[in-house]
Symmetry: C2
């Protein structure tokens, strides 16, 4: 059995300096020309993060990476592009962005406030139920917003999530709900991993639709 | 600073029994009616796994969950459905399945065999380059296979990955390549998280196309 465990402290110690040499670099290979990794360069370093428990920090670093990757797909889109409906079954890119904020919000209420799935307050329901469900109601009501509107909703949601994650520990992350996905035991880590990968699921669809916007030259999937 | 660290050993100890009561359950709440979680019910428990270092086991549990989720979308698809081309820019579902096996294979060669990205052997290139690139060549050559063909390719690839993961430790997972995504420092964890979320990216597209197969009644996105 492997027993190597990396926690935030020794991870930070070991990765605080990396060399500027080309090619794969050993984790421990801190040579004389080592340079610190600038904060803005840390996005592609998945692992424990200062201010969070080991596994929560690691998971949050994935969520942050995923968010940046997804937002890259929508950068520069106009209101008309965000409202573009590819066919009568499609969701707009704007509605999908709102759906991601809704997903994260409901999982926060569910896992942090311990609200059983679906038992949302009238307030939460009136704001998030339509983007959560997508489909016809979302097609009718989520439109006419520019990109900043959606990014603000995503940022505001993520700030709330992050603030709660700071207060939680790995025991919470590993807590098991005896019946959730497929009626099977599901831990909080799995629920939040789903929130994370769900951005990728919709990013795939966003890129698909983006490649077919009126005037689009090339589909990049 | 939170210092709670869960490694495989104490994770297994703490989660080996859960109660059968309804609702959110404390990680430590092992009551008299506790029942062990059956192996097949472990899919939604993300965390360290027996036989792997803490972070590798956790990541592999996400990859396993993601694979099961993605495969649920393609269950029962016929050869004709796997070959269905929605428009001239689209990839077939079959080609996307092969693309996921290609992605995992190239990242294994890159991160485990330390082969610089793109410097593939003639053998690897001839087998995986077309599905990796998708597009026109993939549309021409990846067709006429039934679902088992693609699932075998995915399983064979995952078995190789898993065998290598067993030999690696968290230091390897945290190793930093000074220039990779966006020319920025990128660790192996980030590269493999990308392999994992990439299945979700294509799962989003697979579900989109599946909802538009000839005769499909409803799009489920």
């Amino acid at each position: 059995m492997k027993t190597n465990t990396i926690n935030r402290r020794n991870f930070i110690q070991k990765t605080s300096l990396i060399t500027s040499s080309v090619g794969m670099l050993s984790f421990f290979n801190e040579t004389a020309d080592a340079k610190p990794i600038a904060a803005e360069d840390n996005i592609h370093i998945i692992g424990p993060k200062e201010g969070f428990s080991t596994h929560i920090g690691t998971m949050l670093s994935m969520m942050t990476w995923m968010r940046q990757t997804m937002l890259r797909s929508v950068t520069g889109l106009t209101k008309e592009q965000l409202d573009y409906l590819h066919d009568e079954k499609s969701n707009t890119i704007g509605a999908m962005l709102m759906h991601l904020a809704a997903t994260e919000t409901f999982y926060r209420i569910h896992t942090i406030e311990n609200v059983p799935w679906g038992d949302w307050s009238a307030d939460a329901k009136s704001k998030w139920d339509v983007p959560m469900r997508l489909g016809e109601d979302a097609r009718k009501s989520i439109k006419g917003n520019n990109l900043d509107y959606y990014i603000s909703a995503l940022n505001e949601t993520r700030e709330k999530t992050t603030a709660e994650f700071r207060k939680k520990d790995d025991q919470w992350l590993m807590q098991i709900d005896p019946r959730f996905f497929g009626g099977k035991p599901t831990n909080n880590y799995c629920k939040w991993f789903h929130v994370c990968e769900h951005e990728s699921n919709h990013n795939g669809q966003i890129k698909w639709i983006k490649g077919r916007l009126p005037g689009a030259k090339e589909a990049k999937e």
